[in-house]
């Protein structure tokens, strides 16, 4: 699915919804998030002042069409930077306040079962250090 290399993050059951994992791949720090069963990965560097973005709080955000019409939305998929609170949508890497100019890099993710992981080559050694049930999968990130 990607011309990039898959790297094993962890067994899927160790990354339940609402949780995150930080991984270091080729010197890059990357956060991998489970949002309602879907996996998303983004770079752990905030574009503002380079804070460790993925240490921030995962929450929702507000949207309003008028001052009397406010909705709480995107619950569980908005990452707020631990420094100045800029909000990033984990599913796109884009800031809430200005999606066209400010965003962070995202990476493709997947859950693959052992057989596929073995076929994926580089993932293999790591899988051996994270044994999983054959029915279970491992979360991988393509970097």
């Amino acid at each position: 699915m990607s011309d990039r290399t898959p790297h094993v993050v962890c067994p899927a059951r160790e990354l339940p919804p609402g949780e995150r994992r930080l991984v270091e791949i080729d010197g890059r720090s990357i956060g991998v998030f489970n949002v309602d069963g879907e996996y998303y990965a983004l770079t752990n560097v905030c574009p503002h002042q380079r804070a460790p973005l993925c240490a921030g709080t995962l929450t929702g955000t507000t949207r309003a069409t008028s001052v009397d019409d406010i909705e709480w939305e995107r619950d569980g998929r908005v990452l707020t930077c631990p420094w100045h609170g800029w909000e990033f949508d984990v599913t796109t890497g884009e800031t809430v306040f200005n999606p066209h100019r400010w965003s962070v890099s995202t990476y493709e993710t997947d859950v693959i079962v052992n057989a596929e992981a073995v076929a994926a080559g580089e993932a293999q050694p790591a899988i051996e250090t994270h044994p999983v049930d054959i029915d279970d999968g491992v979360v991988v990130v393509y970097v």
Binding site: A55, P82, W83
Partner: protein, 364 residues
């Protein structure tokens, strides 16, 4: 007392941080330093804020790790991480300055200063301290300056930028503070956070804001009031050795103040005959401003222009505000500036003001 030659400094110091809040990492317990009856009856609480920040006030990523002390966490994440040569610990509770109970406020300031001296200032050559006073009781504030102001690592007198007495800080009733500070060679500094709390008036004359975003954005209005008061009341003609430091009060309003005040002085000087020169000249000599939160205009050139307008090569000193939510990174929080200006802001202006030797160990 200290070596302030800039030529030597160029070879040694690389960064002085004028605003660090070590207490937000823990490790500051003032209760043991209070008189028994106040510890029992009042504890250490001071007036709280009416405005809450959705992200909290302390950065989410700075809590000490398992088994790590507050001191170690402070060094690891800030002093060591960014190669800071000197950092001024500006600790709370600043809102003692707007407490109704003056006895308690005075005792808390003393407790803070004793704890600072006991546990922090001798611990690391890079640490400098601001002593706290209760500005609503100027006589006893002055007595506190006389009590601890000679400690070699206490470099400044600090209090809340919100006045708890309903009048700005240039008024004569505050002058005992300035007299004592000047006598001990200490700048006086104010720091925000207490605007609208306790006995302070609304954060601006416009009245009470609704939310933190409004409260935080308008904090400089209070600073404009104090600096204008200090300049026009004649504090700096009366205490020619005094420096007033505006910590975290913003920068972009300073050109406005200088230009408007000078223009008005030409017309209205008759009210303030002790000002023999345009007021902006006193400001350049006697008022200093710390950087954080540095303005971030879309065009960085506008920031450079602003710094030129306010004579930042003389008046501005770097501050991070670590570890607060709006802190500026020492490396990525300042855009590229001409080398001399960068050096003045990050080292020289603070080194000169606080009389800091090139070798922090020499300070004693």
């Amino acid at each position: 007392m200290a070596e302030t030659g800039t030529n030597r400094a160029e070879k040694t110091l690389s960064l002085i941080d004028c605003d660090i809040h070590s207490q937000n990492l823990g490790g500051m317990d003032l209760a043991p330093y209070l008189p028994d009856h106040l510890r029992e009856l009042r504890g250490t609480s001071t007036p709280g804020s009416l405005w809450s920040n959705p992200h909290g006030v302390t950065r989410r990523d700075v809590a000490p790790k398992e088994g790590e002390s507050a001191y170690e966490a402070l060094c690891r994440q800030h002093f060591d991480e960014f190669g800071i040569d000197y950092g001024i610990l500006n600790r709370g509770p600043l809102s003692l300055g707007v407490a109704a109970d003056t006895e308690h406020a005075v005792a808390l300031a003393r407790a803070h200063n004793d704890e600072l001296i006991d546990n922090w200032l001798d611990r690391d050559d890079r640490f400098l301290g601001s002593m706290l006073i209760a500005p609503q009781d100027p006589e006893r504030a002055a007595a506190e300056i006389r009590r601890v102001g000679d400690h070699p690592r206490i470099v400044q007198v600090l209090f809340s930028s919100a006045s708890g007495l309903g009048v700005p800080y240039g008024r004569r009733l505050f002058w005992p503070i300035y007299e004592a500070a000047a006598a001990h060679g200490l700048p006086v500094a104010v720091h925000p956070g207490t605007e609208g709390r306790g006995t302070a008036r609304p954060p601006t004359g416009a009245g009470y804001p609704s939310r933190y975003i409004e409260w935080h954005t308008t904090l400089p209005a209070n600073y404009i009031g104090h600096v204008t008061s200090l300049l026009t009341e004649g504090v700096f003609t009366e205490y020619p050795d005094l420096t007033f430091v505006c910590v975290e009060g913003g920068l972009a309003w300073v050109p406005h103040l200088m230009w408007r005040l000078d223009k008005n002085w030409k017309s209205l000087r008759v009210q303030t005959p002790w000002l023999e020169r345009p007021p902006s000249e006193y400001l350049r000599e006697h008022v200093r401003f710390t950087t954080q939160p540095l303005p971030e205009p879309d065009n960085p050139e506008h920031l450079r222009q602003l710094l030129e307008m306010m004579h930042a090569d003389e008046t501005v000193m770097f501050s991070s505000d670590f570890p607060h939510w709006d802190n500026d990174s020492p490396t990525f929080g300042i855009p590229p500036l001409p080398e001399e200006l960068h050096r003045a802001i990050t080292v020289e202006n603070a080194q000169q003001l606080y009389g800091l030797p090139d070798d922090p160990a020499e300070l004693g």
